[in-house]
């Protein structure tokens, strides 16, 4: 028997029971659609989150002062955490494999130009921040490589601040007041958007040492290290730990590697995607049970036909193929329909709700279709085996 004929016979049997076939197909379609839709959302969220985290580069290690540990002494503990200093940063820069470092100090204050004033984030950063964080300067340049202890009072504006203070006017060379002090604008950053609720566009960048004196801070809030790609983040982190421990005498700092964060994030989101996909899988299972039900009914109804086919020369294998073929065609069409509906809904959702990122990988579509066909196969086997096992003489007499 030719495969084309099996398909044709299966199809004609399904067309003959249009409504029933349609409803069964619908069951599988809903299952596949929900799997595709939910995994699309899961995958979209995952990609979104990873993109958010990696927009400042992946070969980053962050160092913050203080160590999150609980000591066994009760009562008041003398805080002997040493601040992270610019000297620490310069020492770290000498570690082999480290390309660059950025010192960070963050505060809040008013930024004024002419009659306009805006309260915004003030970031005290080293001159290499633009390179390390991969933020482009669209106008002018970033903070110059001045003596880190006596940097000139230059400021670089985030795109939002520039827009609010200067509108369309050229800000370069203008003097603005940052928390009361005079700064000359040397550059404007590209729009980078929000990252975990922190708006990088609504910020101004000034040299670290100036920010320290502005906010009267002894310690940096963070040192970011950019290391050569290809190196293990662990080895670099270990070197950093050793060096800082030898300077500070104790481990009074916390090291966070981007890679670690990404790994944790990736695995958490991966499990999440799997979980929502599994939820969709339940409805797929229900669709599969629908196929078993309908095929069992079909075999019962068509018992005389099965007897006849046996009489005119069909062996058990052919009967099995015919009924499995019907189940697979049902599931296959359902899968195709579900894929269209699922991917379509995901796309429409992504377009209509900007906050909800969706992404349908085409490999998922293939898996979904294979899964549908597999379910058809599994669901078809039981009724088809029953059909093939019927005694031809009894079958042909059945009413």
């Amino acid at each position: 028997m030719l495969i084309r004929d099996i398909c044709r016979l299966s199809f004609s049997a399904l067309v003959d029971q249009r409504l029933r076939s349609f409803l069964t197909i619908l069951g599988i379609a809903v299952g596949i659609a929900s799997v595709v839709l939910l995994t699309s959302i899961g995958e979209g969220v995952q990609r979104f989150a990873v993109a958010e985290f990696t927009q400042f580069g992946t070969n980053l290690i962050g160092i913050n002062p203080g160590k999150a540990t609980t000591l066994g002494t009760s009562g008041a503990i003398i805080n002997n955490v040493r601040p992270l200093s610019i000297a620490d940063e310069e020492a770290l820069r000498r570690i082999p494999g480290v390309i660059n470092t950025v010192s960070v100090l963050q505060g809040n204050g008013p930024v004024e130009f002419a009659k306009r004033s805006r309260r915004t984030t003030i970031l005290g950063v080293g001159p290499s921040a633009a390179d390390v964080w991969q933020i482009k300067v669209v106008k002018g340049r970033f903070l110059p490589e001045d003596d880190s202890q006596a940097a000139r009072s230059f400021v670089v504006l985030g795109s939002r601040v520039k827009k609010e203070l200067f509108r369309d006017a050229n800000p370069l060379g203008q003097i603005i007041r940052v928390a009361g002090e005079r700064y000359r604008v040397v550059g404007v950053m590209e729009s980078k958007g929000q990252m975990l609720g922190f708006d990088l566009d609504d910020a101004v960048y000034i040299p670290t040492v100036r920010a320290m004196s502005l906010f009267n801070q002894q310690s940096l809030m963070e040192i970011d290290i950019l290391y050569r790609s290809g190196l293990q983040s662990k080895t670099i982190a270990e070197k950093v730990r050793k060096m800082l421990k030898s300077i500070h005498g104790a481990e009074d700092f916390t090291i966070t590697t981007q890679e670690e964060m990404l790994q944790v994030l990736g695995s958490v989101l991966g499990v999440l995607t799997l979980a929502v996909g599994g939820l969709g899988g339940i409805s797929l299972l229900v669709g599969g049970v629908g196929i078993i039900t309908i095929m069992t009914i079909a075999v019962n109804e068509r018992t005389p036909e099965i007897g006849l086919l046996r009489a005119i020369g069909a062996d058990r294998g052919q009967i099995l193929l015919l009924f499995i073929g019907e189940a697979v065609v049902l599931a296959g069409i359902g899968g195709m329909l579900g894929l269209l509906v699922g991917a379509g809904t995901a796309w429409i959702l992504g377009e209509l709700v900007p906050g909800l990122p969706t992404y349908t990988p085409w490999s998922y579509a293939l898996y979904a279709e294979l899964m549908a066909a597999g379910i058809g196969l599994l669901a078809g086997v039981l009724p088809a085996r029953h059909a093939a096992g019927l005694n031809p003489v009894d079958a042909i007499r059945a009413e």
């Binding site: 030719l2 016979l9 049997a13 086919l309 009489a311 005119i312 003489v393």
Partner: protein, 239 residues
């Protein structure tokens, strides 16, 4: 051609064992026209199904064209049914969702014949059986006689050697019945062995050889001259 020796078939009904066939011996040669008669439950249909390889004997030997059928597996049996045997039933057993032409094509699909060959043969059969303007009709749009003609076309499309008819006119009026019998007898004249189970004594008498069954046994096996002969010669065959 067909040779049965000591064939028995036992059915288990509840706790009881019922004999469908008891120790049946039968020889049928190519081109014979045999009618099988007897009361209900006498084993006529069981014998027919046995010969048609739809049923298996519990004991005994069945040779079809010299080949032993006793121990054949399912797919070989199906293959022989496809190529050597044609079945015709009282209730036609056409597939209701398929047109007359598609029903006739079905055995060739199972045999895996190429589409062009199938079309050619179907066309020939439709013309031969006078179904030219009914080919696209479904069984429920056909008269009883037309349905049985479709069924005969389907049974003979693979050019079998043996035609097994189980009450082929049992569900037809006299005129259609006569028509169907004429077709079957015409096929028999073309050297197809014809075995026909019937309740109708008048129909049974038309066959050159008449077998009467009672309780799973062959009670009498009478061969007579060409039909229409008024006084049949009692000529018992002992095989």
């Amino acid at each position: 051609m067909i040779s049965l020796t000591g064939i028995s078939r036992v059915f288990t009904v509840g706790d009881e064992q019922v004999y469908g066939l008891r120790d049946v011996d039968l020889e049928i040669t190519t081109g014979e026209y045999v009618s099988i008669m007897g009361p209900s439950g006498s084993g006529k249909s069981t014998l027919l199904n046995m010969i048609g390889l739809l049923d298996k004997a519990d004991s005994g030997r069945y040779l079809l064209e010299g080949e032993d059928m006793t121990g054949l597996d399912d797919s070989r049996q199906a293959d022989l049914r496809r190529h050597k045997i044609g079945f015709i039933f009282q209730f036609f057993h056409l597939v209701p969702r398929m047109s007359a032409a598609e029903n006739i094509e079905l055995p060739m699909i199972l045999a895996g014949l190429p589409s062009s060959e199938r079309k050619k043969r179907v066309q020939g059969a439709i013309e031969a059986f006078g179904l030219t303007n009914r080919a696209r009709h479904r069984p429920d749009e056909l008269s009883g006689g037309q349905r049985q003609r479709v069924a005969i076309a389907r049974a003979t499309i693979m050019r079998p050697h043996i035609l097994l008819a189980d009450e082929p006119t049992g569900n037809l009026d006299r005129v259609s019945g006569k028509e169907v019998i004429d077709i079957l007898e015409d096929l028999n004249r073309q050297q197809i062995t014809l075995l026909m189970v019937t309740h109708d004594p008048e129909l049974g008498r038309r066959a050159k050889r008449q077998i009467h069954m009672v309780d799973g046994r062959i009670e009498s096996d009478v061969a007579q001259g060409p039909f229409r002969e008024k006084e049949p010669k009692k000529n018992h065959e002992a095989n």
